[in-house]
């Protein structure tokens, strides 16, 4: 299936920057977990995700369409962030054979402040990767642009959305 077209970064919304290893780690986790959902923590500073920490999906509601991070794993993510002198920025999860857009269930269970990264996995292959943040009144998510920081040798940044 064709990947979605890259989004053009416009406006003043903050852009989420993924280190290349974090981007590839999220995509790899999505591929390995398919057809189940994967999940993990986003650790970094401000809008830079330095590390994607894979966590077990502990849902008891069917892991092909749900994910749950256990409290013990949540605490491990906070500790990992503190050990790096960084912050827990949010969480990622995959949508197997489903668009990289938040579902009503995602909205119901979202927390303020956190960034939520979603990667669509189509037929086992990671495709579009998007990032979302809950509005203060909990009424909806706003999408934030995502760019991937290239390894230092390559330099520069590329847009993440729509890449396979």
């Amino acid at each position: 299936m064709a990947a979605e077209k890259p989004r053009v970064v416009t406006g003043t919304r903050p852009t989420l920057v993924l280190r290349a290893e974090a981007d590839s780690g999220i995509r790899r986790h999505g591929r390995e977990a398919y057809p189940h959902e994967c999940c993990g923590a986003l650790i970094g500073r401000e809008q830079l995700v330095m590390e994607a920490l894979a966590l077990p999906n502990a849902t008891g509601e069917g892991s092909r369409r749900r994910f749950l991070v256990r409290p013990v794993d949540y605490r491990a993510a906070e500790r990992r962030a503190a050990a790096l002198g960084a912050a827990l920025l949010g969480f990622y999860h995959s949508h197997p054979d489903h668009p990289a857009r938040p579902s009503p269930y995602d909205l119901d269970h979202a927390w303020p402040v956190f960034t939520y990264v979603i990667v669509a996995v189509e037929g086992g292959e990671p495709r579009a990767l998007t990032s979302w943040r809950l509005r203060d009144d909990r009424s909806a998510f706003d999408e934030e642009p995502v760019v991937v920081e290239e390894p230092k040798a390559a330099g520069g940044r590329r847009q993440a959305a729509g890449e396979a």
Partner: protein, 94 residues
């Protein structure tokens, strides 16, 4: 003497941007009531409109979930640390 309460990242903005706050209470319920009296913006993130703890809020005393202790009646001993831990959940299809 006060007990330490560990505040998770998404709620720190409602707790004076602190990761730890202190409050007094003989039980978990008292402690949380005293904390939210001081940090009122925390209240609607922790409690439903009818005053029950939200299902996606986990409260731990040291390493134990209060659901498996005496819930909000769980007594506190000197030196106990209370943690507020969000359940993080979601998923693709409805």
């Amino acid at each position: 003497m006060g007990h330490k309460i560990l505040i998770p990242t998404p709620l720190r903005v409602y707790a004076g941007k602190q990761d730890v706050v202190e409050a007094e209470g003989r039980t978990v319920g008292e402690l949380l009531a005293n904390m939210t009296a001081e940090y009122t913006d925390l209240r609607h993130h922790l409690y439903t409109e009818d005053g029950k703890l939200r299902s996606f809020v986990n409260i731990y005393v040291n390493d134990d979930d209060i659901r498996y202790l005496e819930k909000e009646q769980t007594p506190l001993k000197p030196g106990d640390t209370v943690s507020i831990i969000p359940s993080v959940a979601g998923g693709g299809r409805a």
